[in-house]
Structure formats: structure tokens, C-alpha cells
Amino acid sequence: MFFLSRQTVRRHRSLYAGSFVALAVGVFLLGLAATATAATVAYDGPAAASITVDLPQADPPQQVRVPLSDADVSGLQTVLSLVAVISGFITIFVIASTFAFAVASRRREVGLLRLIGATPRQVRRMVLGEALVVALAAAITGAVLAQLATPLLLAKASYTELAPVKLEPASPWVPLLIAISAGLVVAMLGARSAARRAAKVAPVDALREAELEPTRIGVVRIGFGLLFLAGSIVLLALIRPGTGEAVIPLSMFTPMLLVIALTLLAPLVVPWIGRLWALPLVAWTRVSGRLARSNVVATPRRSASLAAPILAISAIAGSMVLTLSFAADAAAATIRDTLRAPIVVTAPEHGAAVRERILGTTGIAAADGAIPIDLIRTDGDSAEVETAEGIDLAAATRTRALSPISGDLTNLTGKTVAISKELSGFEGYDVGDEITVTYLDRTADRLRVVAILPTAPGVTASMVLPPELARQHAPEATPSQWFILPAQGSDAGALVTALNERLTGTGASAVPAVEWEEAQGEALRQGNRFGLILLLGPAALYSAIAIANTLLMGSLQRRHEFVTSRLLGATPAQIRRMVLWESSLVGAVALSLGTAITVTVGVLIRRAMTDGMSDVPATVPWTVLLGIAGLCLVLAVGAALAPTAFILKRSHPGAAME
């Protein structure tokens, strides 16, 4: 059957071009992520910039080298693995739907094969063979492109926040082999259901006039759809107050599951939503809206395939954008609620001089300058670099909200630590437990947990030490920010001016806390934007190709139908309008489902993250969200219309007789 597969792929080039492009781009992204990861793995930081710690509880007991933040590439590794996950997901998704499409539009040919003696098994093998031919070519193309682009990516990624080092390409063989095999596996998985459906085509289908697919969808498909739906409902239920930091990954994976569920069930729901959206169309237009509606509603499977990539990217991108925006809102509100001091001094350098000058300024009731100290926290079989701070309780309890959730801060003396609720939740530490740490001066210590504090990133570190302990192990460290409380009756505005006067030349500056809070929030959103572009950029690019791909294939398939309609008296403009409404309708249906997912995830995330806070502003990034929706629609409509116009221009009505 392989012989036949090779021949048919050659013949149906336009059908398979879609799958080829989709898979090649997918393998390209995976390959790029893999070679870049290999480069980070191969990167060998300077030995001086790392510390070796013992992990006696690990099985077997071992030593690990922990790179210090200066030469750390783990940030880039995390991002790359997330990119690989998202790209991999979208690839499976798109490949499955393009193969399904390619098979659906060849019913008659498959029927003919069955008629002249091909068994269902042979048909299945033929489709899988076709997938293999396309996948091999596409995977190798993608891998070659990835290899060519790797030096560019590494040059761009070097010396950034994520990888503040110089990255060199590593040996490409293993990572590219992984990407190619992943691409082949993905293609075969995607082709499997298409092959199974092709095997069900009956020999009489070769004789029937209509090339329409049966509209009923299989019990198996519905079953899997419901299964995925149930799975995503379980995940949705996990997005609740108390889940802590895990809500962020949940907000990424839940939409993926929901997308799979809704795509499987789409043939059932698409007609209903399609009818709803078509109401205004049918009212406004004379015939094209009606035609568009019946085309979308009467072939739910086809419409579902066209809608799938739009649904996938709108739901995933929408949920991530909304989640990160709400996370930034919650973080800003936490900073606002935790910081009591009305003035903040930021001191990038000259710490010692800054300290004297601040303390020498009149009108200050409390100056809270925490000593930053990096340390390695070891726990069982893992070692983690943490940024801790040594705080002066007398000042800090007045400038920040520091009432412990449990334990007592007055015990924070000697070898003790107060930790954030988040760290306690993540690692299961409780008051009275001991945490093993190694300072950067390479001495190890065991610190007893005396209190659990509310999590307040940006204001209070996740580990708070007595100031003496911090100073002992980081004698050079000086505070990088000060929270200043003015004395009773002294004016905060005047104090800011006075502080700035005294601080001139030190590089430090004083600002009202409100301004500082705003800047913190903005920095957070800036960081989020960067992360979103890195994570969603490739997926969005890929989805754009996929959307254009499916709709282009969809329109090219309909040459005969268009030409016949021309023969029946439809003008080219009428046909174009029909295609315009039809693709808009498909886009609207997909975006409705995508919006439903985004809103559900967004609402739950917000509830989870703002638990116990009041007055948290809700920033909905309308421009970005509407931009995503608008782009999807424009791509869908454009990709459907362009080939239609081309077909109409190139063929006269008489061609229907051929």
C-alpha cells in the first residue's frame, strides 16, 4: 500500500501541502526549542559562580552544583519547555484536523479502492502511509530549518534576563532527532483517527452522486469529548483560593483540555451557535446569509474542522493573557495592602552611604532597610536558590503589614526564619520545622521556622531572617530599598524632597509609595508581556498558518460547487459574499467557544487570586484580547475569500459540465 500512498500524496499535493506546512512549522519550533535547550544544558557556568551542596536525604545521597543567579540559564530552559509544550499541543491539534479534512474530501476515491478490492485494513494502512510520506518530508524540512535558525535564536537569547550568558550551539543530532521523532509520532497520532474513518467508507460511496460525509458523529468521539470535558471540569474546580501558585499552570493546561473537549463535541454544538449568529445575517442579507447558514449548519463536521484552530489559539492565548493580567492586579493589590510606609527609597548602589544619610534625615519615625541575602535551601533531594532578607523587626513591623498567619515574630532571633505562606504551602513547612540552608559563604545551617507570613512578593521576601544572621553571612550586603515612615506631624511630601536632597550623588532616590507601587505593577506587566510574547509568539504564528491553511483548503475543495452555482445563475459577487459570511460565521462560532473558555478560566483565576483582598482592580487587556479575536477573523475570512476569488476568476460556468 505504500506505493499507493506515495502516488496519492503526489496527486493531492494541494490537500497535503496544508498538513506539510503545519507539521514542518511544528517540527521547526520543537527542534528550535530542543537545540536551544541542548545549548543551555551544554552551557557550563564558571565554577566560581556555583556552590556544591550535599543532599543526604536524596536516594542515593548525592551532591549537586547549584549555579548562582548571575550565570543561570534555568529561566530560559523553563520558557523553552513551555514553548515546546504549547507548540506540541497545537501541532497535534492542527495535524489531526488537516488529515481528517484531507480524508473527508476523498470519500469517492476511497470508495473506489474499496470497490475494486481494498480491505478496510488496506485503506487504513494507505492513509497512514500517506501521513508517513508527508510527515517524513515535513519533519526533515522542519529540522533543517531549525538547525539553520538555532544560531540566530541563541544570539538573540544570550545576555538577556532569561540567560545572562553567552550561549553556543551544541551538537544538534540528539535534539533534532527528538524533534523529528516527536513530529512523526504527532503526525501518526493525528492521522490515526482519519485513517480509521477512511476505513469505514463503504464501496457504494464510489457510486453515490453526493460526496457528502455523514453528519452523524461517532459515539466514540462523543465519549472522548465528554471524558475530556469531565477532566477539565475537575481542573477548573482546582482553580480556587488556597491552590496557591499552582493556579498559573492550571490556567494554562485547563484551556488545552477544554479545547480538546469542545473540538470533539463541536459537531454537536456548532450548528446551534451557528444558527444563533446567523440570525442577524439572515435578517440583513437576501440570499447569501441564508446560504452561508445552511452550509455551516448542514456540514457540522467540516465546520468543526475549520473552527478548530481558531478555537484553540483564542482559548489558550485569551486565557493566558487574562490570567497574567489578573495575576498582576492581585500582585499590585498585595503590594498596596502590605506596604504601610508612604515613602520608598530605592538604592541601587553606595548602600553604606545611603544608610547614613537616610538615618541622618530629620522627621523620620522608622526606616526599614532589609539586608538582601541569597541562600540555597535544600530539601530532601532538591536544592533551590532563594532570595531572603534580614529585617529589623522594630522598623519593619511599622512600615509593612507583617502580622503572622501563625507563629510569633518576636521569636525571630538566633537561628530562625519566618517564611511566606506560599513557601510553607509549597514545601509543607510548618511552625517549628527546621529548614536546611547553605549561605553563599558556603556555611550550612538549620533554621527553625518561627512564623508564617502573608505572601507579599515585592515587599517581603519569602524567607525572613533576623538581621544579625543576615549580616553575619552577607557582610557586604546593603539594603536596595528602604521603606520610610515619617514622624508624627511631619509632611510626607516635604520629607521626600528632603531625602532626595540628602541623597544626591548616591544614585538613590526617594519617591512617594504610590508612585513606587505603580512602577512595580508596570514592571510586572512588562515582564508578563515579554513572557507572553515568548510563549505565545510561536504558537500564535503557528495557529495563524493553521487557520489560513484549513480555510484555504476548505475553499479550494469547493471549485465544483462554486462553478455549479455560477451555472445556476449566481453572480461571482454573490458567491464571494456567501463565502465571506460563511467564514465569518465559522470564525464567530469558534471565537464564542474560545471566549467561553477564556471567561470561565479568567473568572475562576480571579476569584482564586483575590481571595481575602478587597478593592482589587480588574484590568482586562481589551486591546490584546480584541486584537487576538480580530486577527483570527481577518485570517479566516481572508484565507477563505482569496482562493474563492481565484477560482471564480479562472473558471467559467461551463466548467461545471466537464
Binding site: L4, Q7, T8, R108, L112, R114, T119, L207
Partner: protein
């Protein structure tokens, strides 16, 4: 047309008919209601016969052909092909029976556009897992008058030539029964003659059985016998009729 050795030995005439339909009914059910396409057809196609099936549009001709070839299950009744009952067999068994015992020729869309003429003809053998012998393929191509066209693709052939490729493909496995549904429906009269002559030769030279649905009296005149269908029932038959007599019988049926 050169005549070479037959592709398989003469089928021994035996008592059992090539194809037996026993009380076939077929009811299509859809939302619009039930349609009785066949309402009890009993008929024997003897070995080596060429039978034309005629009748008004919607009289059940295509349904009869599909049930007889095991492409569709009759609602009631029994179909026996070469002494083997078709009912109650699974898809794989039916497929094997089809590729060994039956050949198909239809009005259009008969060929795989991605394959050359040679590969189209050789395909049934490949599907059975046999390696096609070049001389076998060239022999059937000669037989249908397509010498030298082996490397062409279907799109480069005329409609009549395409139909002849389809016949060559049916001939290569040496099937016991040929099923043809309007094989000349899309052809002009002279190419129709060539195609019908080939089907005629299949019965005359190699003793194969041909069942052909047609609405054209000229085509039906190539058959030994014309079977008339009307409203899902056998309405009569006519042996060795010429086109004029067949046309007269048809208009009587329709009138």
C-alpha cells in the same frame, strides 16, 4: 483487436447459476419516510450470459446491482454468487469475494487519477498481495485496445479510453461476474460500441457473466437477454432483441 490466450480456463458449465437472487427486497429508510426500492426480485443469471437490466428511472436498477454485488445488504432475501451466499459475511470476506469473483465498470470516476494506466490496471492484483506480471497487464491492455498507453494518466485519456482502462482492470483478475452500471452513459455512440464489444467478448470468449444496467436500447441489444424492472419488481424479459424491439418494450413499460 488481437485475441490471445484467455486469462483463465473456460468456466465449466455446471448446474448452479453464476448469480442467484431469491426474493430480494430492499427498503431505504430516511427521515422523509421509507422507500421500497426492490419489492421481491427472484432471478437467475446463468453462467456465461450477458444480461441487460432496464427500467424507468427509480425502478431499482442500481439497487438491484448493488445488492447482487454485495455492496449493499438486501432487507430480505438471499443472494448467491458462484454457489456462495453473500448474506451474513463480514466486510473482509465480502471484499475478498469481490476482488476475486467480481469486476466493476461504472459511468464515470472509475479510475484513480494519481496512478498511471498500468498501475490502475495492476491495482486489483496488488491489493490481493500478488505481484502483477508485466505480460498479464500488457495483455489485458492489448485486449481492450490500449497498446502503448500504459504510461499515461487517466486525465490524458478520452472518456472511452478511460472506460476501457476500467474494463482492463476488471479483466485482470478474471472475475466470474462483471457488474456494469450505465457503462456507456457518458460516451458517444462509437466509443460506446467499443466498450460494449469488450463486454460481449468477455462472455463469448472467456465465458464470464455480465450484468449491465442501462437505459439505452442500443446498448441493451448487445445482451443475450434484457430484464425489465418496474417499481422494484421484475416486469418481464426479452431474449435476443434488437434495439427497436427493446425500445418498444421499454415504452410499453413506461406508458
Amino acid at each position: 483487436m488481437t485475441s490471445t490466450a484467455p486469462p483463465r480456463p473456460f468456466v465449466v458449465q455446471s448446474e448452479s447459476p453464476a448469480l442467484l437472487l431469491d426474493g430480494i427486497t430492499k427498503t431505504y429508510r430516511s427521515k422523509a419516510g421509507a422507500v421500497d426500492a426492490l419489492r421481491g426480485v427472484t432471478y437467475q443469471f446463468t453462467r456465461g450470459s450477458f444480461t441487460a437490466v432496464m427500467g424507468p428511472s427509480g425502478s431499482g436498477k442500481s439497487t438491484l446491482l448493488q445488492c447482487a454485488a454485495g455492496l449493499d445488504q438486501p432487507t430480505k432475501g438471499m443472494v448467491m454468487l458462484g454457489g456462495v451466499e453473500l448474506g451474513g459475511r463480514d466486510e473482509v470476506a465480502l471484499t475478498k469475494l469481490r476482488r476475486e469473483q467480481m469486476g466493476f465498470v461504472f459511468q464515470a470516476y472509475n479510475l484513480l487519477g494519481s496512478l498511471t494506466v498500468y498501475d490502475n490496471v495492476a491495482l486489483p492484483l496488488r491489493l490481493t498481495g500478488r505481484r502483477p506480471r508485466r505480460e498479464d497487464v500488457y495483455r489485458v491492455l492489448d485486449q481492450v485496445g490500449l497498446e502503448g498507453k500504459a504510461k499515461r494518466r487517466p486525465a490524458e485519456l478520452s472518456g472511452g479510453q478511460q472506460q476501457r482502462v476500467a474494463i482492463a482492470r476488471a479483466l485482470i483478475t478474471g472475475p466470474a461476474v462483471f457488474f456494469a452500471d450505465e457503462p456507456t452513459g457518458a460516451l458517444d455512440s462509437s466509443t460506446s460500441r467499443q466498450v460494449l464489444t469488450l463486454l460481449r467478448q468477455a462472455t463469448d470468449r472467456t465465458g464470464q457473466t455480465v450484468v449491465m444496467v442501462t437505459h439505452d436500447p442500443v446498448a441493451a441489444a448487445f445482451a443475450d437477454r434484457v430484464l425489465f424492472l418496474s417499481d422494484g419488481l421484475v416486469a418481464g424479459s426479452l431474449d435476443r432483441g434488437d434495439a427497436a424491439r427493446i425500445a418498444a418494450a421499454m415504452s410499453e413499460l413506461e406508458g
